[in-house]
Symmetry: C4
Subunit: 352 residues, 4 copies
């Protein structure tokens, strides 16, 4: 807002985090790859959308609850996988998990998480494992197996990371300052430089099928932007496609997810669930995303900014998103997320 | 203007209001819902339009007078319903009404007004009642009946408010500081929390018909943006459709009325009167709005900024708008508002 | 330029004028009507254009000379009618005329000029009279007749001024401070308020024919933006159509001439000469204008900024424009203005 | 990046140069012709592009090596011709040449270079001569012949310079301050003002053929933007077309090469090699350029900024560009530059 009136609680979270977190940690989370062009425009891409609300519709009872791969969600918002949660708050993944559990949400746990899967599972949260496969596939299997044992209900295979995108200012110094025991604690062998433990550069459709067979769980592919790739993934057995550009942290100048998501929904929306993340900071952003036809929206950084003040703050984040989403739906005349589809006008398009 | 020369009297009103009004009152009026994106772009959306004037047309006698639902207007500009007028100026709605009467304009009175309808009617102004229906419809009937008794000539049913949009920084504190007797004085029962007195979330086409039958007055629907809704309203008996996004105070990121209005004119312009409001701050804005084919343009905040200095200032607002509109029409070669249609180019469109 | 290197002499003229002229005079010249939106974007509209130069063309001899209504011009740039030249420099129109004469250019003299036509004609300059017609047509005839006597070779009838556009901050005070004898000196009767001496609000096609018959001179219509109006004017006998929005000084938010000119060229370019003015500040602007297909380009304010330093400065303006235009043509591969047509890409259009 | 985190080494080079070089030299290199509009938007035009990466592609082995006119390049990046290299660093062209040689790149040497061709050739670098032809063609022949003798493997004929574009602030003073022996040392006769030694203004298709016959080398035409000109050049015998606007140093407001290149690739991409330069500052820019279908990308100013710190710095420039390009390709799923084609979305275009 341009005239000094208050901001919403959610909109204020990032600046609280900036004040509280060590600069290097804040910067690492905040920034994107390269010049951060894509990271910086992710949210703007959602707020370029304009809505054309409908009136004379009974919005007395609106429905926020949904399911993802059969798991019930109180509202179509869940938490994306992120690392370093224990640097953000001492209780790290556990605080995140408890807050998600109490909110009836879902948490996706990074394979590089700083908390043992078993402890996360013990909070009772519904959770999925996010997995990176290694060049020598057998080296990533134990982590996946451990997650299955600890109750993960789906595997999210990240496809956009054959190599880690360069983030300016983040070098060995940064990683050496990360306290031991806060990263990759679910790997049996923590030694660096094991041959074959680098991220796989040759992921193929087969990996999707194999991972499904090994785990007996549905496979979600994360990091898909091109419709043709979405089709390939679904044909290879993926149960869901997660449109993501990794928060702008991999290839800079990558298309924003707000611009890419409709193409994917169109290509595979009938045969698979479609999710999206990137730049979601408010309930109105969630609404804009749902209006493209996705089933669920994930938050990355927003969850981390909330986590700065611990479990209750993450719980409040869920609450506020839910409230804002509900209000947006009522005001737009949408009783369900599905009814939001087609209420969206991209700026510059002839609206009506 | 970028080079320090004077601004028009109308353009200066807001900053006078900012200086004179208590900050919280100014902010409450000025701001929109959420991040105020839609509130902030409403005026810009009009000034993006460019005109292609016509020459060699006799503009010696131009015609500003028109009618709305049969009521004669000296010019196609009237005053939208707003609350808190008595916080803006002690004489509140009465000053507004007298100025509108003397200008040959029309005033729409909010059902939450701070002045008894009878007193407003006694000024001799042509006025319409703006109504919100309550969940228990019978609870909103007395206010409507009172307005009819006091001479309201039409009922404007606001459709865009199944719930009140969240305005950051406006909470219970703000409302508690509003002096008693300046809000909702036309409600018999002022006690908060009466069951069924919440805003209706289930308005339907039937409400339009019922309200028409009860009052015997034409019904104007306010807050319509989608052409299909305009059609539904007219089919349900609405005599006029008022394109509005409630000044950006309900759903943020709602389409600007400047962008939405043409679709509605196209859909129902032949069978009903169409009005528009939102971001109108000058006679040139009025001209841009008329060029979309609407019959009348309403001002919300501009009337409040003028009201800060009382009746004479509102009268001058009408005068200036009229003068600017007349000059714009002459310079554009439009003898009537109708002739302005098709002189408008939206920025970016191929003009000619 | 964004990095502190020099600007061209032409680009620096306005800021010299700002330093030298009384503020009120500078402001009066610089500003446009209303919020000056159109005045401010006039130049930007030209510089949005991008060129696609051609190579392997012999540009050893390029041709800048042209004719307008048969009058030879050393280059396709001439001076638009403006008033108050004697407030800009004591020698006023005479300095302007001498510089135009020596540059082989053409000067259009305002009917409100501050110098007797006879003196202007005596400089030997090729000149045209710009005329406003009055409500009582007979009252504008003496001025026109005097101009014909003094050697005007065409009459430029300004069509865009049925009333003078409001310029904020310019009121009676400004006009009272204008020294007597510097404005409207070619009117026999200088008394204000003569009945019928107001600007005509009922100009029609007939006025074009009548003016042609009375003067025996070709008639140029100035202030045309709509192609249909251009056609009407040519059918009524106009020899040339001058696309102008009066420097943004009449209707604010009027389309920029850079956006409007092509439509007019397309409509009447085969049967009449087409000129354009508005926002021309450099030889590259002239080139962009020529690339739309017009025969000649007129400068208003640029000539006044140059006039601040007298005749030699106006002469240098012509020289610099000519040099820049010549260089632009060579670099673009255009041997004649005509060859520039089709080298222009409006920003945002698919270029090739 | 907007939040104070580090920039890449490449992105920091210009500001190092600004600190180290004499202001006039820095400005001369940095600026463009006229208002520098085209110079300033060259890089922005590349970074407006957005990528739609592909996943599930084996990017274990990506291929950066290519050939230009048969010459092997370690990566598709080479150095454009620029003058004044010895003002940028005492070792000038020799440092540039050695660094290009060690990087497996190619250097194009300006005919106005400050180092004898023989010395450049002696470094072992693969190099081409950039030639300007003079009005009297015979006067430019000795320089061309000397280059052939010294091992130049192709001739780059610059077509966009029938006259040198005016750069504000660069006048005789600047050129007089250039130390003797740092410019045009490959001309036998250094005296200014020899008749016929001006740049040719009448280049034609024949010049291409003649130059090919005289030198027995392939001819590259540099400075082509229009597809029709590209066709003419190829028909006249050019082996390659280099899309360039001379770094915005000739015609200002010229189309950006990022906008023009696709048209040329489409027109002659099957029959000739196509290169591009202008505004390339990072590996991601190189990737964006390759995605348009060109075979090689040239850097002008970036090489000069690197040269400020000598040979090792130019070597590092090659290294960083190579690394960034490789990372970009892996992240985009492109194993070869060719696979990058079609991954590009211009901003504003419907992506998918
Ligand atoms: C600090 C941080 C760490 C992340 N770690 C992972 C990860 O381990 N695995 C993964 O697939 N994505 C990871 N992501 C990407 C997120 O899952 C998500 O795609 C992205 O943050 C969404 O954008 P947003 O932050 O704007 O909501 C990480 C993101 C951040 C900010
Ligand atoms: C302070 C304020 C109070 C308002 N109260 C009402 C109201 O009671 N009923 C209603 O239908 N609209 C209400 N509105 C909306 C106006 O009728 C109108 O739609 C809006 O102000 C138009 O935009 P503008 O302010 O930019 O002219 C209110 C607007 C403001 C600014
Ligand atoms: C101070 C001033 C006085 C003007 N007076 C006249 C006039 O008397 N008659 C007329 O037809 N146009 C008049 N014009 C408009 C010019 O002829 C011309 O259309 C306009 O200035 C072109 O825009 P530019 O100033 O950006 O070049 C005047 C313009 C200015 C700035
Ligand atoms: C200082 C300088 C000198 C140049 N000299 C020449 C030259 O002698 N011949 C030539 O064909 N191009 C010359 N160019 C243009 C470059 O070859 C190239 O087209 C341009 O610099 C590419 O844009 P960039 O600098 O943004 O990479 C020069 C450019 C600069 C900056």
């Amino acid at each position: 807002m341009t005239h000094g009136v208050g901001t919403s609680w959610l909109a204020g979270l990032e600046s609280v985090a900036r004040d509280v977190l060590p600069t290097s940690v804040f910067d690492y989370i905040r920034q994107g790859a390269g010049q951060s062009l894509s990271a910086d425009e992710a949210n703007a891409a959602w707020s370029r959308s304009r809505f054309i609300p409908r009136v004379l519709r009974d919005v007395s009872d609106i429905e926020l609850a949904t399911t993802v791969l059969g798991a019930p969600l109180a509202s179509p918002v869940a938490v994306a996988p992120t690392t370093l949660q224990r640097l953000v708050h001492p209780e790290g993944e556990l605080a995140m998990a408890r807050a998600c559990a109490s909110a009836g949400s879902l948490m996706v746990v990074s394979s590089n998480a700083g908390t043992p899967f078993r402890e996360i599972g013990a909070t009772g949260v519904q959770w999925w494992l996010q997995a990176y496969l290694t060049r020598d596939r057998s080296l990533s299997e134990p982590v996946v197996d451990a997650a299955v044992d600890a109750g993960a209900r789906a595997i999210v295979l990240t496809l956009d990371t054959p190599t880690v995108g360069t983030k300016n200012g983040i070098g060995p110094d940064f990683w050496e300052a990360v306290p031991p025991g806060t990263l990759r604690v679910n790997f049996a062998d923590q030694r660096p430089g094991i041959t074959g433990a680098e991220k796989a550069t040759d992921l193929g459709p087969d990996d999707i099928a194999r991972l499904g067979e090994r785990t007996g769980l549905p496979i979600v592919v994360k990091g898909v932007l091109h419709p043709a790739d979405a089709v390939r993934c679904v044909e290879a057995g993926a149960a869901a496609v997660w449109v993501s550009n990794h928060g702008g942290r991999q290839l800079d100048r990558v298309v924003s997810t707000a611009d890419a998501v409709s193409g994917v929904v169109e290509a595979v929306g009938e045969t698979a669930e479609v999710y999206v993340d990137g730049g979601i900071r408010s309930g109105l952003d969630v609404f804009a995303a749902l209006a493209t036809g996705v089933r669920c929206v994930f938050v990355g950084r927003l969850g981390l900014w909330a986590l700065v003040a611990g479990e209750s703050s993450v719980a409040r984040m869920h609450e506020e998103l839910r409230t804002e989403l509900g209000e947006s739906m009522r005001l737009a005349g949408a009783r369900t997320p599905t009814e939001a589809v087609s209420m969206l006008v991209r700026n510059g398009e002839k609206g009506l």
